[in-house]
Symmetry: C2
Subunit: 371 residues, 2 copies
Amino acid sequence: MLIPAQLTPSERILMGPGPSTVPSRILRALGAPTLGHLDPQYLGYMDETCAMLREVFQTRNPLTFPVSGTGMAGMETLATNLLEAGDEAIICINGAFGLRMRDIVQRCGATVHALEVPWGEIFSTDMIARAVADHPRAKLLTIVHAETSTGAHQPLETISEIVHAAGMLLVVDAVTSLGGHELKVDEWQIDAIFSGTQKCLSCPPGLSPVSFSPRAVQVMESRKTKVQSWYLDVSMLRAYYTTGTGRAYHHTAPINMVYALREALRIVLEEGLDARIERHRLMHLRLRAGLEAMGLAYIPTHSLHTLNCVRVPAGIDEAAVRRRLLQEYSIEIGAGLGVFAGQAWRIGLMGHAATPRNIDLLLAALRHCLT
Amino acid sequence: MLIPAQLTPSERILMGPGPSTVPSRILRALGAPTLGHLDPQYLGYMDETCAMLREVFQTRNPLTFPVSGTGMAGMETLATNLLEAGDEAIICINGAFGLRMRDIVQRCGATVHALEVPWGEIFSTDMIARAVADHPRAKLLTIVHAETSTGAHQPLETISEIVHAAGMLLVVDAVTSLGGHELKVDEWQIDAIFSGTQKCLSCPPGLSPVSFSPRAVQVMESRKTKVQSWYLDVSMLRAYYTTGTGRAYHHTAPINMVYALREALRIVLEEGLDARIERHRLMHLRLRAGLEAMGLAYIPTHSLHTLNCVRVPAGIDEAAVRRRLLQEYSIEIGAGLGVFAGQAWRIGLMGHAATPRNIDLLLAALRHCLT
């Protein structure tokens, strides 16, 4: 066969739903020499990565590590390890990622009690309280902190008490909030959480950071059956990722991706988590003012700072606008997903991409494409 | 917290069971600017990657792509997609990776008929024929082409006819052979196969190339139940990885890892697959002559070229030798695994690491450490 030419990817400004633009420091770390997965040097880097993940998750959970797959592998890790066939679960659904969690939980053989509100809306504390009262046998409740499909921002502070009072675990999807929104795993008493590297951490996709509370660990330790996934079985992953009685080889970790995540977390901590979250808030306000001045309306009532979902004006070919942004400006923004397909744009302000320079350029480019 | 220092991994010579040394061309490709997973440029790179994978697997199977996880994710992809609860499977076990396949197949709810020989040995055609006759209801037979735990090289040429005559699928683990040993997926009529990137392709770990024959696709299309893993569900992955009626987003692909695999495959095709396989054979002979001259004995009767498993001489502290090789020479070789823990060294000759320079250095270093 004809061997394809050398790779020359464009230097995009990534302002879609993820991946976000990766800073060169992280790309350089990614390309550092590969070590063996049991090399003491590598194990040191891995431990440091897990320690920094704890800092960014704001947790002391020992069981905090990156799953060797993209964000959805993290979602599946939580579901398959916490649930067994015959268990019940309350799944809060207000967008594509709640729906996905339902699908995954059903594949675990668990019974789903779906709590639904229209796409773009969020759940009130009362609704959660009622759902928990209605399904007292549920083992856990899952909720999406940052719905990447709608841009809705779900407050979590008041939920955990209700869920815990009913003896359930609180399971959270934080793919688009970790490192960009306030997210306090210990203070908010979240029992299991997963995220992705390619959003507000501005690392390439390929890993899914997860964290489990001691309460969640207890639930996993009392399982009666094996986890249906070998690759994602936390009882075995623990022996590799947590120090103590020696490292047990499970699978070959994606070494260079861990280098990149380590560098991404160093950058987060250098900036300071609070400063970074505040930057995301300010950048959201800047973008929002510009978009609304152009007559564009936000879809969710409670918008994320990190993902801005706006309605496409009537009569506009949304795909053509995205194509022009990509071709003329090398800027990527996202299309609508699911219910909002063809009706929305999703503009990410995540990590390294959330800067005044990018926002002002995007606003100028959008104005150009819309007139 | 104190932010860890910048990453400075040593430039190891990786001659263990994987990862193997990654050439700088691949590390540079890995660190190229990240594109979006639906960017037309990225989709082009992905299609080229799949086309080159077909070339290296020596197959025309349209359904050939890299699973977004390390090698074991590929093993799990094959098992979970081809099997349903209640199915029967014949699992050939002659080392750690056959055992692992058994575990994964059992987690799919399938009944396992284990065909076992001692670690280090291989299966004769007669044994396969008898197993197939004994278990006529089995849906498939799995076998390890290159047992990374023992260094045994299993011939496959004559097996497929027996397996197909019985109406079963032939499922092959080729983690340590793809790109280093003769492996003809179409000619040998293999129905489903998985590999890893970090062995003879000399790419960092993080992806698992897989390929499914039309016969295997038919079996997956006639499933009565959903695949228990959402992340690895090929019925959905197909819509992203194979062209045709437009790309459907499933999960965010590990973009930069695909860049690296693409570059690794370009290097394989530049060298020429046959020439590369011949190089691995010659390097094995060179290493073997040197090791045997030192009095070291190979464990398997039919040794792989890519993984050389030798017995540790009596009275030698095997871990101390590996430690010295790492500290004094920055060379990694592997320990024994499972049955051979503490009794064997596993010396990889894979891809970029399989050179006269590395072999002669390792032999000199081993001589130094053993005297």
